[in-house]
Symmetry: C2
Subunit: 205 residues, 2 copies
């Protein structure tokens, strides 16, 4: 609990730092393989003409995702958390020091792939997106109420696979609305590009 | 670190307790929706004629999985961890007290849906199975090296969906062998029943 209070203070400091440079930050969390890197990549491609974008990415030990996004021509900072199942505001503060915020408008943060841990650790971003693959489990929403209390937007991803796996997307949406009626919900297929425009508009980008 | 040493002591106590009653325990971990409940259900159906089985299940706040398995006619104990992303040996010790170990031969433990957190917290079971859905991400193995050091068996599940989502099962198997050559790997489809016989034999059941 003390850890979380300390994290909250650091998150607020991150927020003030970003705002002092006029930089907006969006934090993407979600279970392993839900589509965070893919969706960030799609947004980078759609937006890099209009915004100067930087990306911070957290994984336990690998650099795969950030290498991929670096290939899109944006500055990236890789954070490796070792065994920690989530980014925290302290790690993000250190990562922000490695970005030239003077020359950026927008920072995307990809959290460690985990649907539970990040819920307790805000990072200081202006918005948090939960990326949920419709393919994993019909109970994924109802089993993680805290997560869905602590985000602003849900990207219901991989809708192109819904039929093949017998997923009930309507039902998942209804679960989301019941858990947190204030959430904005965007159906996406990172594969086909469906919903990417809608996602950027929802994020006011 | 002290937490983990304490957990290890409690895990060893659980193991001794189980062995004093001649009860074998198998712990199933894996990411959200990977198929843990489904596979445990399949094993219960296949084995309840030969073994007296009990099940312990961990979830943050819900009882869905254990209600489902209870419907198969076995005693179940629901553990709710609140915000904790993994079961621990202490919670399992308390759950074991609620089972009549005198009248059981086999206990299945379903861990909280999370591919990272349980790796640091052995429970005292005789075997740990990692259930991995082939549908989530091609990098799921290489991104979680510690997890695959700490299990005995991997059930590569949802193989019936591999073609529909373009998953490379061979590659995932190769990743597993590279991360931990000692692991037994079983391809399963909990939907069709493929690999269930193989899984029980691998678990020496
Ligand atoms: N069919 C389909 N595949 C997708 C979609 N989005 C992502 N994928 C695939 O799913 C896999 C995982 O996507 P990622 O973007 O790496 O997921 P992630 O959330 O970043 O995963 P981690 O960072 O490892 O937790 C990749 O093989 C993607 O190509 C989608 O909408 N439809
Ligand atoms: N097509 C297919 N679906 C499967 C398979 N195994 C499980 N499922 C489905 O995948 C969903 C999740 O399965 P579960 O057994 O609940 O997964 P779990 O690991 O227990 O999930 P949590 O306990 O919530 O973390 C369910 O809708 C299952 O019916 C499989 O091999 N093939
Ligand atoms: Mg990623
Ligand atoms: Mg389950």
């Amino acid at each position: 609990v003390n850890l979380q209070r300390r994290n909250l203070e650091l998150a607020e400091a991150n927020r003030r730092l970003l705002e002092s440079f006029g930089v907006r930050a969006i934090d993407f969390m979600g279970s392993v393989g839900s589509g965070k890197t893919c969706l960030i990549g799609r947004l980078v491609e759609a937006l890099k003409g209009e915004y100067r974008i930087g990306v911070i990415g957290g994984d336990l030990t690998t650099t795969i995702d950030m290498e991929l996004l670096e290939g899109l021509g944006v500055p990236v900072v890789q954070v490796n958390t070792g065994r920690e199942c989530h980014l925290d505001a302290n790690l993000v503060a250190k990562a922000l020091e490695k970005l030239n915020l003077q020359q950026l408008d927008l920072v995307f943060i990809e959290n460690v792939g985990n649907i539970i841990c990040p819920a307790d650790f805000p990072l200081g971003a202006h918005r948090r997106v939960a990326v949920v693959s419709v393919v994993e489990s019909p109970y994924i929403i109802v089993k993680h109420p805290l997560t869905f209390q602590t985000v602003d937007v849900v990207a219901l991803n991989k809708v192109d696979l819904a039929q093949a796996v017998g997923a009930d997307v309507e039902r998942l949406e209804a679960d989301i609305r019941r858990v947190n009626p204030k959430l904005a919900i965007v159906r996406t297929s990172c594969k086909t590009g469906l919903g990417i425009q809608n996602l950027r508009e929802t994020l006011k980008l």
